[in-house]
Subunit: 499 residues, 2 copies
C-alpha cells in the first residue's frame, strides 16, 4: 500500500487548500470588512487554481492508477477502495476544466457575490446583471468542458447531485407539482391559522440562546463547530472537527433564526459525523446536496416543526419569552409555525409551497443555461412564474429574483437538490422510525441521541464513500421516491387544516 | 517591461497564498473552535509549503533576473525597481530553507501555539515544554540554513529586523539598561501614584466602544479593517484594504483593552496606509518589526499616554464611566496611566520597565539559540532574571515564562524589536513635531489628521520599499539612536515624579 500512502499524502494537501478556500469564503460572509472584497476575490481565485492544479497534476493520475492496483484485493467498500474510486471520478471531471477557467470562475463569483449583496440591499438588479451575465457565461463554459449526454444543464447538476439528470428531476417535479397545487388549493379554502404570535418582538440574544440550546440537545458539537451571523444562512466545514454554521436574526419574526439554526445544524451534524478516517481525503463531506439537504430538512421540519417537538420545547420557549408567548397556547403556536401560505421568500416558505419556489428556479436555470432566457429578462420571467405558481408578484426585486445568493456564486444546477432533499428526508425518517420504534415518543421527551445515532450509523459516517443512490439503496432498499413525502404532507397538513 | 509584468503576476499569487495563511492564523486566534486545531495545523503547513515553493521556483529566479535588466534604467526608488530588489532579497533567503522545513515549522508552531494556550490557562509549563523544544530545534535548523556572519541568532533577528546584528542590539541594550536602572531607582524613592481608579469595574462593551471611538478619531479605517477579541492582542493584514486588529478586555483593569486597542491600531494604520500599488507584491507590509513597533508605540504611548491626549479625552472617558471616574480628577488619572512600577507582565508594563522585560527575553533567547540554556531550565532562568532586573519572582509560570505567545510561534529574534520600536518612535515623533509645529496642541484638540498624514507620507506609504535604516536616514538624517527616547523618558517621568 505504498502508492496508496503517497496518494493519501497528496490528497491531504489538496484537502488543506480546499479547506483554506472554505475558511476564506466563510470569513467573506461573516466578518470581512467591505474593503476586503477585491483582494479576497484574488485570493480565492489563486487557491482555486492551486487546488485544481494539484488534483489534475499528472503525478496524481499515476498514483491513482498504482493505488487502484493496490486496493483491488480489498473490500470494495473499504475506505481505501472508496478513496481511490471517488477521487478518480473527481479527477476525471477536474481534468476536463482548464485551471484558468477555475481561477476565473472563483474570482468572478467572489466579486459577483459582493455585487449581489449590494444589489439586494439597494434593490438594484441592473447593477448585478453584468456580473450574473459573466457568471452564467463562465458556468456554461464549465458545463461544456465537463461534457454531458442529454443536455448542458446535466453537467452542472452532476456537480451537486452526481449521476442525476435534468430529465429525471423534471419527471419527479412534474408529478409533485400537480399534487402540490391540489394541496395548496385545498388549504386555501380552509380558515387561515393565526400566526401573529410569531411577529412580536423577540430579542436577538434570547433567540440566539434558544436556538443554540436546541441544537446542543440535537447533538451539534460546539467544541467542533460554531455559529455566526451572516446575510444568508449556510454551513461549511474546514475538517470534521471544525464545522461552521451561520444564521440571520429577525427580531420581529421568530421562525427566521430558529428554523435557520435547526436547518444549518442538520447540515453541520452531518459534516461533524463523517468518520475521522476520511479527513483530508476529499471524501469528508456530504455525498450529494440532495442527501445533505435531507439532513437539514429532517431536523428543521420532520423534527423541528413536529407536534412532539413542540410538546417538549414550547414550555421552554414560553419561559424564554414570557411577555411575547405567555398568552399563546401550544396548539396555536404549532399551527402558526406550520401555516401554509403562498409567499415570496423561499427560505421562509412553509413545507408545501417551498417546493414550488424550487421548481421556479429550476425552470429558470434550465432556460438560462440553454440560452433561451437572457439574464436581463430574468426579473420579468421570475415575476411571471411567481404569479403563475403562487399567485404573487414580488413588489421589488430584492424580494424576488435577488433574494438568493446562489447564482452569484455560479451555483446553477443546485436548487433542485433542495426538493430532492425534502423527498429523501421523509424516506430516511420513515426508515429511522421503523428501526427505532418509538421515534415520535423520543422526540417528545427531547431524546435525540437515538435519531442522531441512527443517522450517524447510516448516513453521516460514510461521508462521500457511497453515492446518493447507493446510500438510499443501502438504507431503504430502493431509490428516490416522492410517495413518502406526499403521504407525510397529506397526513400532517390534512390534520392541521381539517381536510 | 514584459518580464516585470509576468513577475508581478506570479508575485500576486504568492501574496494571495500568504494572505490566506494570515486569514487562517487570524481565525485560529479569534473564532476557531478548539477541535479545529489539528486540521488547522495541517492547513497552515500546506499553505506554508506552497508559498515557499512558489517563491523559490526556478522560473521566479529567471523572471527576477530578466526583470532586473528591465528596471535597471528606472529610478532606483521606483516601485518597480524596489519590487525587484526586495523580492530578490526575500527569495535569496527563502531558497536556503528547504520546503519540508518550512512546512514542518508551520505545522509544529500551529500545534505549539495551541499547547501554549492550554498550558498558560492551566499554569502547566511541563505540558508546553516538549512543544517548545521541538520549535527551538526547528528554529535553530532554520537559522543554520539561512546562514550568518557573527552568530546563529543573527540569522533569526534578520527575519524581523533585516541587517541588524545581535551585537548591535546588545550594545544599545547595555547602554540603555544602565540608564533604566537609575530611573527605576529614582522613581522608587518617590511616593507611588494612586492608580486604584483603573481597577474599578468597567463594562466590556463600554470599554470596547470607547477604544473604537478613539481609534476612529486616529484614522483607523473600519471600512478596511475590524477589531475582534483574542487571548493575545495582535494585528495582521490580508491586503491594504483588509487589516485586522485584536485585543482582550479585562473588566477590572481599564488600561488592558484601551492601550491594547491604541497600540494595535498603530500597527493597523501602518498596514492600511501602504500604497495600493504595492498590494499583492510582498512589499505591502511594515519594513521591519522595529519600524512597525515604532508605529504602535507612538500611538499608544507618545500620543495615548500624553497629557494633551488626556486633556481632550478624559472628559469623554468620564462621560462613558461616570460611576467609576466621576470622582477622579484628570491629574490623578494621568498619573495613574503613567505609573512606573516593576511588574510581571510585559504587555501591561509602564514605558520605562517595559524595556527591561524585553531585555530579559533577548538574553534568554540568545542562550536558548546558542544551546547554553535548555528549555526545561527556562522557567528557573526566567524567574532568576526577573528577580535580578525587577526584584520580582513570578508566583506562577502563567504570569512568568508562559505569558507570551511568541516562542510557541517560533518567533525568536523578535522580542528585541519591541525596544528598538520604542527608541525609533521618539525619533520619528520628534521629527514630526518639528515638521508640524504644533503637534502637542493638535493632539490636545483631538486633531490627528496632521500626525497621521505625516506618518503616511514618511512611513506608511512606502511599505517595504525602504529598509529600516534607509527609512530612518530619509526621515531623520541619521540612524538608530537611544538618546531621544532617554531624553523623552527623563523629561516626562521627571516631571511626573518630581525628580
Amino acid at each position: 500500500m505504498q502508492q496508496f500512502a503517497r496518494l493519501r499524502e497528496r490528497l491531504g494537501r489538496i484537502a488543506d487548500v480546499q479547506a483554506a478556500q472554505a475558511v476564506l469564503s466563510w470569513d467573506q460572509e461573516t466578518y470581512m470588512p467591505t474593503g476586503g472584497g477585491g483582494a479576497r476575490a484574488h485570493q480565492l481565485a489563486t487557491l482555486g487554481r492551486i487546488g485544481h492544479e494539484m488534483l489534475t497534476d499528472d503525478e496524481i493520475g499515476v498514483l491513482l492508477e498504482s493505488a487502484a492496483v493496490e486496493v483491488a484485493s480489498l473490500d470494495p467498500d473499504s475506505d481505501e477502495a472508496r478513496i481511490v474510486q471517488v477521487t478518480r471520478r473527481d479527477r476525471n471531471k477536474a481534468v476536463r476544466v482548464p485551471a484558468s477557467l477555475v481561477a476565473e470562475l472563483a474570482r468572478t463569483t467572489a466579486l459577483a457575490q459582493q455585487a449581489w449583496a449590494q444589489a439586494r440591499s439597494r434593490d438594484d438588479f441592473a447593477s448585478f446583471c453584468p456580473h450574473l451575465e459573466r457568471v452564467l457565461e463562465l458556468t456554461v463554459q464549465k458545463a461544456e468542458a465537463l461534457g454531458y449526454d442529454e443536455c448542458l444543464y446535466d453537467a452542472l447538476l452532476d456537480e451537486y447531485e452526481p449521476d442525476m439528470k435534468a430529465s429525471e428531476v423534471s419527471a419527479v417535479f412534474t408529478h409533485l407539482r400537480g399534487e402540490l397545487v391540489l394541496m395548496v388549493e385545498a388549504i386555501a379554502e380552509r380558515p387561515a391559522p393565526d400566526d401573529t404570535c410569531l411577529r412580536r418582538n423577540f430579542s436577538a440574544a434570547a433567540q440566539w440562546a434558544f436556538g443554540e440550546a436546541v441544537i446542543t440537545d440535537f447533538g451539534f458539537d460546539f467544541e467542533r463547530g460554531r455559529q455566526d451571523r451572516s446575510a444568508h444562512p449556510f454551513s461549511t466545514n474546514f475538517s470534521t472537527t471544525d464545522v461552521r454554521i451561520t444564521t440571520r436574526v429577525d427580531e420581529n419574526f421568530l421562525p427566521s433564526a430558529l428554523f435557520g439554526t435547526l436547518h444549518e445544524a442538520g447540515h453541520g451534524m452531518y459534516e461533524q459525523g463523517v468518520d475521522a478516517s476520511l479527513d483530508r481525503t476529499g471524501l469528508a463531506g456530504g455525498t450529494s446536496l440532495g442527501i445533505h439537504e435531507s439532513q437539514s430538512r429532517l431536523w428543521e421540519n420532520l423534527v423541528g416543526r413536529s407536534e412532539s417537538f413542540w410538546a417538549y420545547y414550547y414550555p421552554k420557549l414560553q419561559e424564554q419569552f414570557p411577555d411575547q408567548l405567555g398568552d399563546v397556547d401550544d396548539a396555536t403556536f404549532y399551527r402558526a409555525v406550520n401555516c401554509v401560505e403562498p409567499s415570496l421568500i423561499r427560505v421562509e416558505a412553509d413545507e408545501i409551497t417551498y417546493n414550488l419556489h424550487v421548481m421556479i428556479r429550476f425552470e429558470l436555470e434550465l432556460d438560462l443555461v440553454a440560452g433561451t432566457l437572457a439574464v436581463s429578462d430574468l426579473p420579468a420571467a421570475w415575476n411571471a412564474k411567481y404569479e403563475e405558481a403562487l399567485g404573487l408578484t414580488p413588489p421589488i426585486d430584492a424580494d424576488g429574483v435577488l433574494q438568493d445568493i446562489h447564482w452569484s456564486f455560479g451555483l446553477m444546477g443546485y436548487f433542485p437538490t433542495y426538493t430532492l432533499g425534502n423527498l429523501v428526508s421523509v424516506q430516511l425518517f420513515n426508515q429511522a422510525a421503523q428501526d427505532l420504534g418509538d421515534l415520535e415518543g423520543q422526540i417528545g421527551r427531547g431524546e435525540f441521541a437515538p435519531l442522531r445515532g441512527w443517522l450517524h450509523e447510516h448516513v453521516y459516517r460514510h461521508g462521500r464513500k457511497f453515492s446518493a443512490q447507493e446510500l438510499l439503496q443501502r438504507i431503504t432498499g430502493g431509490g428516490l421516491d416522492a410517495g413518502p413525502w406526499l403521504d407525510y404532507a397529506r397526513h400532517k397538513f390534512g390534520a392541521l387544516y381539517g381536510i
